[in-house]
Amino acid sequence: MKNIQVFVVWALVGIPLAFGIFQTLAKVTALFG
């Protein structure tokens, strides 16, 4: 149960952060295009 709580709490911050990183990486590809 405790592990599920840790997973959920990390997901709540990890998903938006991953979204931001992927959005930025999409822009970065222009640098190497």
């Binding site: 840790v6 990390w10 990890g14 931001g20 990183i21 930025t24 590809t29 640098l31 295009g33």
Partner: protein, 464 residues
């Protein structure tokens, strides 16, 4: 409001400490929006019929208030605990957006200064320092890793806020499909309202997740005697009042000021700088605006990643050594950038990437360095006072770069040579920082808190 007090947030036995970093991240990811203001800067210029400088003042006020509120409120944050601090940070940060939106809808720029700049800036300062001392107490074995995870959020916040804000502006503005579109003031006002609601909810999630460890708690398998064995890691405690009277505090202030000033010099000018470095004789640059945008994105990743990676590394290398790297290797890299940066874009990008990762690392490693030197007693308050170096660097960095560039020519006509005086000035600053770091020695026992005073302070905390 006693339900927010420190003694109501003590973790029960068996509490998983890995719930604390995401709680801290929730706050830092929100306040990191401060680095994404460029998304609506042009829209505000058009809406208020103001200059870029007048709009830029909004961000400047926010950063100055960040440093001031962190310095003034640091002791309050340490005394009342992270939940109350995060709660009020959420109210200030969200309230800043609400008042700012009122200013936009009523066309009153001063209200945006008051809202986003002044009120929001207080939220920035309190929010920035609120989880720091708690993280250090939960992770005495890996303080660099813990604070790196949280402060990484401040770099990551802009990565989220930037695309989300762009999408929301397009959603709120019916003219978003038109060529050369600049978002309307109305859409920026609605964006502010939306962000106020989202950030309030998200920061409250952080506030109600965070807990402080019970007195005397240590992680399983952690041996404090190993920490004591390191020369620069104290087992004593220094109050915030006494800390600012020490040479160590001001040495660190200079270190942070120099490191941040040098980093801001590149960050603030990132997009035009890479284009200017590769400008041809015909006035055109080899680097397009799109590619320059990608470069800015890459630096954002370096800033964020450096905060986590370098700060976590400092747990192994020691804090003084890692700052030697930030400042010493940083000096060499800046010099290479100034002298050989224009030769190839690959070299330029690699050098700038590492330099900005050091900039982020400098921010994230500072709380752990303070903990090593001054103990955990009022490390949040001391960190707050140290952040005035950031405010000062936020003014000095752009001022140095822009002053040199203004003297060299007009924007759009500059070349790599125009940047050399500014970059060499940054080299000098990094050398000053390197020397200041050399002066960091263990704090003299005269500044240590007598145990009785410490116990009294802790008891007062518990009664508050």
């Amino acid at each position: 409001m006693s339900w927010l007090d420190r003694d109501r947030t003590i973790a029960p036995p068996g509490f998983n400490r890995w719930l604390i970093p995401p709680a801290a991240l929730a706050v830092h990811l929100c306040i990191g929006q401060a680095y994404a203001t460029s998304v609506y800067k042009t829209a505000l210029v058009a809406h208020f019929d103001a200059s870029l400088v007048q709009i830029g003042v909004i961000f400047s006020i926010a950063i100055v208030m960040l440093g001031l509120s962190a310095a003034v409120m640091g002791t309050w944050v340490d005394t009342h605990g992270p939940r109350k601090a995060m709660f009020f940070a959420a109210l200030f940060w969200s309230g800043g957006f609400l008042v700012g939106s009122l200013g936009i809808f009523s066309n009153q720029l001063w209200l945006v200064y008051l809202g986003y700049g002044f009120i929001g800036g207080i939220g920035l300062g309190i929010g920035y320092i609120s989880p720091v001392s708690t993280l250090i107490k939960w992770f005495p074995d890996r303080p660099g890793l813990a604070t790196g995870m949280a402060i990484m959020g401040f770099g990551g916040g802009a990565l989220i806020a930037s695309p989300v804000s762009t999408a929301l502006l397009a959603f709120y503005d019916p003219n978003s499909g038109v060529a050369g579109w600049v978002p309307s003031g109305d859409s920026v006002g609605k964006l502010f309202l939306t962000l106020a609601v989202i950030y309030l909810a998200y920061m409250m999630f952080g506030a109600f997740t965070i807990k402080v460890p019970a007195p005397g708690w240590t992680p399983a398998g952690f041996d404090p005697s190993k920490v004591r064995a390191k020369a620069l890691v104290t087992n004593n405690h220094v109050s915030a009042k006494n800390a600012i009277r020490t040479r160590q505090f001001w040495s660190l202030w200079v270190v942070l000021f120099c490191n941040v000033t040098a980093g801001i010099g590149i960050l603030e000018q990132a997009a035009p700088m890479i284009q200017d470095f590769f400008r041809q004789n015909d006035g055109n640059s080899l680097v397009s605006a799109t590619v320059a945008g990608g470069f800015v994105g890459l630096l954002s990743l370096a800033n964020m990643g450096g905060r986590f990676i370098w700060s976590a590394t400092s747990d192994k290398t020691g804090r003084k050594n890692i700052y030697m790297v930030y400042l010493g290797v940083g000096t060499v890299l800046y010099l290479l950038l100034a002298l050989f940066g224009p030769s190839t874009t690959t070299l330029y990008v690699i050098l700038a990437f590492v330099i900005i990762s050091f900039y982020g690392g400098g921010f994230a490693t500072a709380p752990a360095y303070l903990r090593d030197l001054f103990g955990t007693f009022q490390v949040g308050a001391i960190h707050g006072r140290l952040l005035t170096a950031w405010s000062a660097a936020g003014i000095a960095g752009p001022l140095i770069v822009n002053s040199f560039l203004d003297a060299q020519g007009a924007p759009g006509e500059l070349t790599a040579a125009a940047y050399q005086p500014a970059l060499l000035t940054m080299v000098g600053l990094l050398i000053v920082g390197f020397i200041a770091n050399l002066f960091v020695r263990p704090v003299h026992s005269d500044h240590h808190e007598p145990d009785r005073a410490l116990v009294g302070a802790v008891a007062k905390e518990a009664r508050a």
